[in-house]
Amino acid sequence: MAALLEIQEIVKSFDGVRALNGCTLQVSEGTITGLVGPNGAGKTTLFNLVTGFLKPTAGRIFFRGERIDGLPPHLIFRKGVVRTFQVPRELKGMTVLENLMLVPQGQVGESLWAPWFIPYLVRRQERRIRDRALEVLGFVDLHRLRNELAGNLSSGQKKLLELARTLMCDPQLILLDEPGAGVNPTLMKRLVSSIEELCYERGITFFIIEHDMDLVTRLCNPVIVCCQGEKIAEGLPDEIKADERVLEAYLGGQYR
């Protein structure tokens, strides 16, 4: 399998503290790759570097063989790399549906004259986007809240809205930062099958930070383990769970 995302010797320092310390890893196309590690291992920092929210101190990042480190977030987004945030960032004063309808880039209605001279085009496109948004809302079980202000959602529902947002464009790589935290287990189980469907049928690659090992075991292959800014292991979930260093640094006694 080809490497869709390739991270080489990446270093990120914050005021002398090295959050990432020469981390090298790959995400292969068509996989659901898990990223686990103790709190403070540099996982979210890695996501921030891949999506352009931070610039690396050293090292290189390639997406489809093209170097993307240092590009601004919106250009990386246009290449098909989208993400969610650990702490959701919804537009609080807009409805759930509006939050999703904003995602597609370059909508006809954004230009000053289009609504006046080609209103039918604007309407047609808006209808298409709305239909898409409603479909996505059904997917994450937020359909009945479509007209609710996003700021009124519970924290778990905001996580779902984050996930929904990533599906509104045509992503090639989706980075999910703790999709399971605060989401009810039953709903999460359904989301697992949705993610699998998106990956195996629509060919979207996933790179997922998650602490819920049941979820990681069910969903991810391979799993990469980071600790103190470096990769310490990679393999199938069961291999990871048997790795002495991973048990020591991350999983703890209950998995022994």
Partner: protein
Amino acid sequence: MTVLEARDVVSGYGEVEILHGVSIAVEEDEIVTIIGPNGAGKSTLMKTIFGLLPLRRGKVFFAGEDVTGLPPQAMVGKGMCYVPQSDNVFPTLSIQENLEMGAFIRRDDYRGRMHEIYELFPDLAEKRGMRSGGLSGGQRQMLALARALMLEPRVLLLDEPSASLAPNMVELVFAKIQEINRSGVAMVMVEQNARHALALSHRGYVLAMGQNRLEGSGPGLLNNEEVGRLYLGG
């Protein structure tokens, strides 16, 4: 003795009513877990009980005393503390200073208490001079718990204490919660990690759509078929 009781609580945000009459009761020495689907109103219930959100209808009793509508600072004075899910420490202050802030309203000598807390959380004692913004997620959660304990509360409200924590840290936080409970503090937690939380709880409540749906012992709910199917992921 019932240390905390919420009776037919109605509350919400702006025009939206989230809780349509929820009741819970917590006995002294109990760990009570509240579970339910996303948007059931679990966090809203905690915030309303603690006085962070206005109560529209219903009553809250603390150790038999009617405390309905009291603001958070008054609740803290009565012996109820609340640990929010995130942003629950002062990141620019050191660990020691965070604990001192926890004792802000105490007029007596709290050094003995500080010593006890450091004994309960030896990791924090080691790093007492360190800025808490540099702590890992698990350590930060420990500090938030420790800070709440500075007031020697009778009831602790915990909003998702295990969220975003590594598995070894989840284990540690739950172990501490049990230890704190055994020292005589009643606990009410909201948790998505329902299996783990119910397993160590004396009792649990299931909320759905802003209403009470079920209640029972922790193990009882864990083995309840409907709860398993609807809320624990089968």
